[in-house]
Structures are given as structure tokens and as C-alpha cells.
Amino acid sequence: MRFAFQTLRAAALLAASFAVAGAAIAADEIVIGASLPLSGPLAGFGNYQKWGYETAVADLNKAGGIKIAGKATKVRLVIRDDKTDPNVAASNTETLISRDKAVAMLGSCTPALVNAGALVAERRKVPIVAGCDPLGAFKSVRKWNYAWVLFFDEGDLATAPFRMMADYGLATNKKVAILADNGPDGQVVGGQIWPATAKAGGYEVAHSSSFPVDAQQFTSMIGQAKAASAEVALVDAIPPQAIAIRKQMASAGYNPKLLVMEKGAEPEQFAQALGKLADGVLVGGYWDPSFPYPGAADLGKRFETETKQTQSQHIADSHAAAQVLLDAIAAAGSTDREKINAAIAKTDKSYVVGPVKFGADHTSRIPITMMQWQSGKAVVVWPKDRATGKLLFPLPAAN
């Protein structure tokens, strides 16, 4: 009996010391979490985001951290790989909140992953700030209370090729082929906005196809686009599919005059995998180090110096999202999630992506540009006042 009592007392002491230690850890650092696609088809995006998040946090810690109750506190960023799987993104978010004790979250990439994590954060009343989630797809999920996104709007993105063609007076036969995956943003851009904008601009949708996000063979739809003589080809697909589609277009002898490949043509790996075939391919963009925003030029240079890779616009939206969250925690002066959430709502400041101010729908819009791959470099070709290079038109012949 005496032994049992002593054991019980020892266990109670041990539990108490763990609780005290836990409280001390919580007071010594601020934990924020992020679930990112570091493997799987979207890893090309995730690795840029990881750099953007980590850089923002490292810079803040170097400058002394955030003052919480008058005491400078360091921020610890915990990142988990969601393997480009929305189910893993959701479970990672749950783990980051419950096990890692994250007071706030940073988002993943693409609507499927960001929204999956945001729904968990919303349920747990934990603020989450994300880039890399087109605003229409984000807003369509629900009325958000704790999730915030700064990115471009699908409407802006989808209409950009048509606005660019009008601005530059590009001559085509006005026949459009649309090839879009059946993911949330593919359905919005390829299934709704592109057809509507084409029609409004006097273009004829000569062919339209939808495909699963893991498809590999596209010979039939490419053959039909070619047979329809579509001189404008609009593709919405993730990188592996975009690369396969570009190769299969060339091997089918289909050479449209204008080729836009949303999502998939964004990361540098697109140009690396395709070599000369990437030349002339257009993709909607929203950032370049040449843009006149605070820290933009430095961020691009820093990334290239540190990683020996070409910069990507995803370093900017992720860096800005992290700074928005860190500024909000600083403004709240507390790790109280409700106070942090209220501070995010009041954000009104210029970051590397430009001015960030959230509307009632929890979104802040980044203006769109058109980028084009030219000799392995992404060049801004539209709008004219931001262009860093001249548009290649028509698309260079593949063979």
C-alpha cells in the first residue's frame, strides 16, 4: 500500500513537472505551423514556399523576435510535408495545432491543399494566412472567419491572355482550345471563365476538354484541338501534366500561335524539363523582383544567392503571407488566437507582393501579369508598363 502511494506521488510529481516545463516552453517561443507540398506533383511550389516562410521567420528572429507581454519572444516555424494530398494537409494541420501547439498557421499551395488545411484551422478557430490559393476557389468554399488569403483572382488570371491579345493586337483566327484539369481551380478557370471570356471577346471555343489531375496521355484532346485549327491554346494543369501536354502537342505537330499553360508552367522545373520546348509558353504571374515593392529586388537576389536556383514568384507570396501573420502577432502582442485573428483583419501595409488589405471576404488581391519562358528565364511580357522583355509571338515552332 505504502509502495503504491509512493508510486502515485512520484507519478503526480512527474506529471506536474511536465506541465510546468510545457508552460515554460509555451512562454519561451511562439509556434506557427505550415503544411506544405514538399513531395508529390506540387513539390515544385512547396520548396519555394518553404524558403519564403523560413526566410521571413529567420529575419524576424534575427531582429529579436516578437514582444509578447513586454518580452522579446522567438518564433518557431514547424513545417510538415502534405505530399500534395489534401487528406494529409488536413491531418497535418490538426497535428500542428494539437500536438505542436501552433498558435497560427501558414497555408499550403493550390485550392485543394490550402482549403483542406483552412477548413481544419477554421474548425479549431486557429488563424491561417495563405498565398497560392486563387481567390474565387477560396471564397467559394464557405464564409471564412479565421482563414485569410492574399493571391490573384481567377477572373483576373483567366482574362489576362485575352486582355494581352487585345492590348498588343495579336492576330489569330480567334479559335480557342481549352484543356483543363478537373481540380477546383481547373474547373473554375477552364470550365467557366475561359469559355465566357472567349465568347465575350469574339473568340470561338473550337475545342474544350477536361481531364483528371493525374492523367498522362492527352493525344486525343490535342488531336482534336489541332483538327479544329485552334490558334490559341489555353491549358490549366499541374507541372507533370503540363510538361507531358507540351511534349505531346509538339509530337502531334500541333503548333498554336499562342500557348498559355496555367499552374504547370510556373515553376522553373517546367523550363528545365522541356528545354527549348518551353520557349514562348505563357503563364499568368503576379510577381517579379523588378516590381516596385519594398524588398522585392532583394528577395529575388537573396533566393538565387542562397539556393543557386532561379527565383520564383512563390517566394514572394509565401514571404508576404508569413510577414502578414508575424506582423499580426506583433500587433496583437499576444499569442491569443482571437487577438491575432483580429490583427490580421486590420492589415494595411505594403509587402513584397504590393499592398495587402483584406476585404470582408478575407481576401487581398494581387494584380496579374503575363510571364513568358524565354531561353530558360521567366520574363514579364504584359502589362506593357511592367514588361521586362518583349513578347515572343507567334509561339516558336517546336521542331
Binding site: S210, Q217, S220, A244
Partner: protein, 295 residues
């Protein structure tokens, strides 16, 4: 969902592409088929061996400028050399312990390999660049990818080569004996363990060479193996387990039917057609669509 046929040139080009791609699918499935037929091994790491071949082909091109087709046999040999110790260390000790243990071991190997590729090559999407990788070949109104034609010819030659190896050599005789009755074969002096090791290496080599063709025609990532494993299973079931020519016929049938599905229903329905066929054959003719077994 549009059911109207597109114009004849599109249909002919799609079906020709399907036929040619089917040859490549047969090569990618051959390794799975012979491992299953001879060793009763459900090799769940088959897709990763295929992706490994694609990385080897990519690496050989990037580092040494070796053309993917010219270096195909080299990649096959390299993968066979890597597969031999894998079989000796992980599969051989599980002989006689049923099918589940080796199957789960290979599942573990598939996860380890995916992560190894991730560490070695990063998660980026890659493709093997070659002048013929995206070049069209025009035959009248029919247009097909040159890599499909090359891939088909290479695949058929390799399938025939494996058939000759199995049917005309002493190793092939031992392999067939081990497949039919490993206990009796061992009693007759056949070194069944050695046959199993070489069979596994041969299967891995076929997967790797198929991977080079796939990596040249399409794109690949460290986690791309699962898609090709599923397609390979469909080909193996269609062709009959361990049936070498059956695998070739099945690959071509699957390629053509997938293309027909793509033409009639849209490219997004290709996998549906393949898997529906897989289930139908499994239910109605589990021995495969090709009656005569070569092994």
C-alpha cells in the same frame, strides 16, 4: 460527355498512338509478370523500379551525355545489378513463408525508394530530353510521336529477347522448371534461389528500360511509380501471369482500348477504360485473354 466521333485523322492518329504506346506498356509490365509467374512475388515496388530506370536514364544523359535509347541496355544492366542484392537480402530469406511477407516487404521497399529518389533528385518533375522525344512522324493523315514508334520497336525487340531467353537457354529451362514446380526443380538439381534472384533482376531490368522510355515520352516524379504499377497490373492480368507474349498482346490491347476510350469519351476516361477492362477480365477470364502460355 461528347460521344460523336471526331474526324477520321484524329481517330486514326489516336488509335495508332495507343497501339504504339501499348508496346511500351507491355515492356513496363513484363517484369511484374515474370516476377509474379516465376517467384509468386507481388512486386509492389515495380513502379519505383520503373521510375528508378527513368532517373538512371536522365542521370546518364545529364552527366555523361548518353542518349536514352543508346543507353537502354546499360540502364537495364545497372538496375539488374542493383536488384540482385535487394533480392538476396530482402526476398530470399522469406522464401516458403507465403506471398504476404514478400509483398509487404516490397511495399516497404517502394516507400524507401520513393524517399531515396526524393533525397537524391528532389521532388521536381523531370523528363528525359532527346531530339525525338517530342518530334511528330507523319504517315499520310496519321500523326504519331516518334518516341512512340521507337518505344514500340524497342519494346517488341526486348519482349522477343526475353522470350528467347526463357524458351531457348539453359537459364530459361531452369526458370520454367522453377515456375512450374520449384520443389521438383530443386530435386532435379536446379538452383531455385539463383533462378529467383536472376528472375528478379531480369524483371527489374525490364521495368527500368520501360522507365527510360516512359521518362522520355512523358514526365516523372519520385512518386510517379504508383500510376504505372496500376497500369502494369492491368496488363499482367489481361495477358496472363508469366505469359510473355500474352503481356505484349495485352499491352497493345490496353493501349488501343484506352485510346478508343479517349477518342469516344475524352482523354480523362482512359484510366477508367483500362481499369474497367482489368476488373472484367479478372471476373470473367482470370487466366488472361491469351490462351496459350509460353512459359
Amino acid at each position: 460527355m461528347p460521344f460523336a466521333l471526331p474526324d477520321a485523322a484524329v481517330v486514326a492518329s489516336s488509335l495508332a498512338s495507343g497501339l504504339l504506346l501499348g508496346g511500351m506498356l507491355a515492356l513496363t509490365a513484363l517484369g511484374l509478370s515474370i516476377a509474379l509467374g516465376v517467384m509468386r512475388l507481388v512486386n509492389l515496388a515495380h513502379g519505383e523500379l520503373l521510375v528508378g530506370g527513368a532517373y538512371l536514364g536522365w542521370f546518364a544523359l545529364q552527366q555523361f551525355g548518353i542518349d536514352p535509347i543508346a543507353g537502354l541496355l546499360l540502364v537495364g544492366l545497372a538496375m539488374a545489378a542493383l536488384a540482385l542484392p535487394l533480392q538476396r537480402l530482402l526476398i530470399a530469406p522469406l522464401a516458403g513463408k507465403g506471398m504476404e511477407a514478400p509483398m509487404m516487404t516490397m511495399f516497404g521497399v517502394s516507400i524507401i525508394l520513393q524517399n531515396a529518389y526524393l533525397l537524391a533528385f528532389r521532388a521536381d518533375t523531370r523528363a528525359i530530353e532527346a531530339p525525338y522525344a517530342a518530334r511528330p512522324l507523319h504517315l499520310g493523315p496519321v500523326t504519331v510521336a516518334e518516341i512512340y514508334v521507337i518505344g514500340f520497336v524497342v519494346s517488341v525487340l526486348l519482349v522477343v529477347g526475353v522470350h528467347l531467353l526463357v524458351s531457348r537457354t539453359a537459364f530459361g529451362r531452369d526458370l520454367r522448371a522453377s515456375s512450374a514446380d520449384p520443389v521438383a526443380a530443386a530435386a532435379m538439381g536446379v538452383d531455385v534461389q539463383r533462378v529467383h534472384a536472376l528472375t528478379f533482376a531480369l524483371g527489374a531490368a525490364c521495368a527500368a528500360m520501360g522507365g527510360v522510355l516512359i521518362g522520355t515520352a512523358f514526365a516523372f516524379t519520385p512518386s510517379a511509380g504508383a500510376t504505372w504499377l496500376l497500369i502494369s497490373f492491368a496488363v499482367v492480368v489481361l495477358g496472363g501471369i508469366g505469359n510473355i507474349f500474352g503481356t505484349l498482346v495485352a499491352g497493345i490491347v490496353l493501349g488501343v482500348l484506352q485510346s478508343l476510350g479517349g477518342v469516344l469519351l475524352g482523354d480523362g476516361w482512359r484510366d477508367f477504360v483500362g481499369l474497367a477492362l482489368f476488373l472484367a477480365v479478372l471476373a470473367l477470364r482470370p487466366q488472361g485473354i491469351v490462351a496459350a502460355k509460353v512459359r
